[in-house]
Symmetry: C2
Subunit: 549 residues, 2 copies
Amino acid sequence: MVTVSFKEKIKGIGGDASYEAKARVLREQLEAKIPAGLKLPPAILEDPPLDITHIPETCGLLTAQELAITELDATAVCQKIAAGELTAVEAVTAFGKRAAIAHQLTACLMDFFLDEGIKQAQQLDEYFQKEGKVIGPLHGLPISVKGHYPLKGTVGCGGFLVNMETSTEDCDMTSILRSLGAVFYVKTNQPQSLMHLESKSTYGRALNPHNTNLTSGGSSGGESALVAMKGSCMGLGTDGGGSIRGPSAHCGIYGIRPSSRTTPTHGLLWYQHGQDGVIPSTGPMCRSARDMRLFLEAVLEANPALRDPDVLPIPLKVPDLTQKKLRVGIMMHDGVVMPHPPTIRALNLVKAKLEASSEVEVVDYVPYDHDRGYSIVRELYYEDGGATVRRLLEEGGEEMDPLTEWVISPPHVKNHDAAQVWKLRDRRDNFRREYSDHWWSQNVDVVVCPPFQGTASPHDTTKYWSYTAIWNLLDYPGAVFPTGLVADPAIDVYQESPSPMSAADEYNISLYDAAIFKGAPVSLQTVSRRFNDGLVLAAQDVIERILKS
Amino acid sequence: MVTVSFKEKIKGIGGDASYEAKARVLREQLEAKIPAGLKLPPAILEDPPLDITHIPETCGLLTAQELAITELDATAVCQKIAAGELTAVEAVTAFGKRAAIAHQLTACLMDFFLDEGIKQAQQLDEYFQKEGKVIGPLHGLPISVKGHYPLKGTVGCGGFLVNMETSTEDCDMTSILRSLGAVFYVKTNQPQSLMHLESKSTYGRALNPHNTNLTSGGSSGGESALVAMKGSCMGLGTDGGGSIRGPSAHCGIYGIRPSSRTTPTHGLLWYQHGQDGVIPSTGPMCRSARDMRLFLEAVLEANPALRDPDVLPIPLKVPDLTQKKLRVGIMMHDGVVMPHPPTIRALNLVKAKLEASSEVEVVDYVPYDHDRGYSIVRELYYEDGGATVRRLLEEGGEEMDPLTEWVISPPHVKNHDAAQVWKLRDRRDNFRREYSDHWWSQNVDVVVCPPFQGTASPHDTTKYWSYTAIWNLLDYPGAVFPTGLVADPAIDVYQESPSPMSAADEYNISLYDAAIFKGAPVSLQTVSRRFNDGLVLAAQDVIERILKS
């Protein structure tokens, strides 16, 4: 492994002279928004340690009170504000300051507007003082927002420099959150094309705070880095192939991809509008399981289907699992790529713990033709053979990231005419039906599986997303959670030389060197059948409690 | 108007020698299944009157008891069977015999298997006698099934001779209905391509029983003719552009197009699988408003989403309208094509009656850019420019029906590549959003509007479906009901020479000659926002009651 300097590591996407000129302006504008008083000393940034999670505490830029506030999860922030123990201004100030620090270490932001956030928070505090009650369930909660959500007055883009904008309106999601009392203060970084599990853009490359040689994931990789740095307790992600779950898993935080079209997606910045073969979801990335529920209950309670005829008015029903014995399928691997040793260790642990519990019944879940499913979903992402991506890069003079090139390349990706689009979607529908039959044959309520074929990857190497994307194709909701384990070079070694199951597996094996992954959080994913989002939440609580007991 | 013989009128689609040979076999097979004792005397078929609805009563082939049974609606049939006052065998025998008669007069069938139905009914009767209870909510109910629903052992097709099959399995819908106790005895006729509002196929042209110079509508036009002839009290239709509502309205029966994907569609015979720009619905065609509810409640109660991951688990909620004042928008026309005088008369009547009622509030509903919506939906039907249709006709040596040619012709229809498919679907999504905003601005709960730009049309003339297809594009549920009025040459005349609003309007005006439409039922449509299917049912009851009071 070649050692690169921190400055080199965090560097973003380049381009031709015209691109570089525009990119410089954008980066300088962001730079200028971060107050001088929140700049880290150059010495820290010259050669920070691989694990940078503790720098906010040790750098001296935050007060003890601010550090304490940023330790809270979203539920606690809301509760304390509602109880009058914390003001909205205090909350956003603490998280905003910490976000500024996080950004310098992880390139997690694309816009910073703490002043605006404080103004919003002041109004909420005034309302609270005057009315003696909160304006909504998220009153005063600072929420960080992924780059491609329009938020009035802030910078956003649909994955390329060429579609960068300063938004004139909120989209449905940010508008609803605002009406519920949320406070906005940052927009977060995301990858070129929005279709990688690594987040490198004009604004830099987002780094994994637990080990900056690893990716924070993508495409909501600015969010995952920020939340893991505790510069936010509630981040807004999107997930069309794993973009909430991948980065959350990589950074050791919580994230859920709800069933598509149950949460608002209208207005997202994007470059293939009308591409409806796989519908992305919107959801929370956060630091506790209860915060996922807080977010989903608040947003669905606001009835987004009234604004958006594409939203499905399917309520979130979180079942009471004390009344039945949960059947948990354990999927050790997908039959295509074997996860790396740390993930296998976590799977073995969760299996042993669950088997020892009388609360659940454990089943060995057999995956159903995930290879075929992954081929279908990759073909669906770019039915035009990637022509639109190439055009946007050319128009912006923007260099193609190697992972962008990979994602639009044959054999998975090809150009289609209308009849070929239909045939592809028919293959999708048939796969969904077959998978549904298979699911019932396995007789499980939920499946616990890897969220990825290992922990976070070294930069520029993430080329297999099937552990998340398969569920996007099926539209099965999934949540990830940290197991509490981290990759440990002393124990996470192959017991015997692995025999590859596929070319993708061979590649994955070649990436593994226990030393490289040191300190990476090991996460797991809980999945259930379409629209069983509430069951995912309830089961995740049970599974995590048993695992950690 | 040229007078054509009855034999000529009822004749089906032709083709080359190879087609004709196969078509003859199919027609003869159907012919042979109808028992000699149910054949109408040649004298009747030589030159029947335009209104043939009374022939089943007068032809002498049905007993008084059979005639009485076929007067019942589905709810009454189910109730009587459940009360032991009627057997399943008696029910299917009566409807089956009447269906055989109806077919000879309207070409409404494509398969006839009363013997099988009687066997099924015998088993249900035995169950009832032994267990003292019904097997399900539709125990013993004879249901007629549109041609493209697979039903084990029966003939079906996806709109062309070349995709004719004898089905080896039930599809989801027929399987669910079977499990609820339904009895099958006939499959019904549908048009070439399944995409007209007129039903002419290899099996003949379906005629309107109220006036055989008019179409029974399409594509569920075999069903509408059969139900109007009382050869069925519950028919199974599909609706992707008006194919339940159009024929139901034309024949003076009830029909609802539920919101898409709330009822089972899996397995339907079709020729553009994966074409998911507009999703067809499945629903009932029947003789009372309560039967629509009976059907939907029974089918949704069976939880079709468990079989089919594409089905949305959205329950049917029929609101109690005694607690609120219903706001009814009246849409007199769509801004593109003015309905013919009989329909305007019905709209004026319903408006006056509703305005006079204290139960509802009446609003003049302003349509929103229906012309654009209709263009979008027509383009969505054939994103391949109609190439698949042309290929299937060629493969089968089947003549292209003039209405098939019309539906796949420019300017609406054109070939698309993948990026053009996305653009088109983006136009669809934008229209849906704009329409939703518009709907709220109108402040209505439901809209009452024409189901068509007049009553049933003369054969081969139906070229504008926007009064139904616009709601398919929007996925707004809609039900049609007979007003009790019929076209009356004595009063249904233009008061002054109409000035066309559009080329389509000019064509529609040119079709009108009061004498031609004599006796045609005048129907209306009740529509509400997506997923408000229960509100449509509840409002339809209120509106119809006030109209008919």
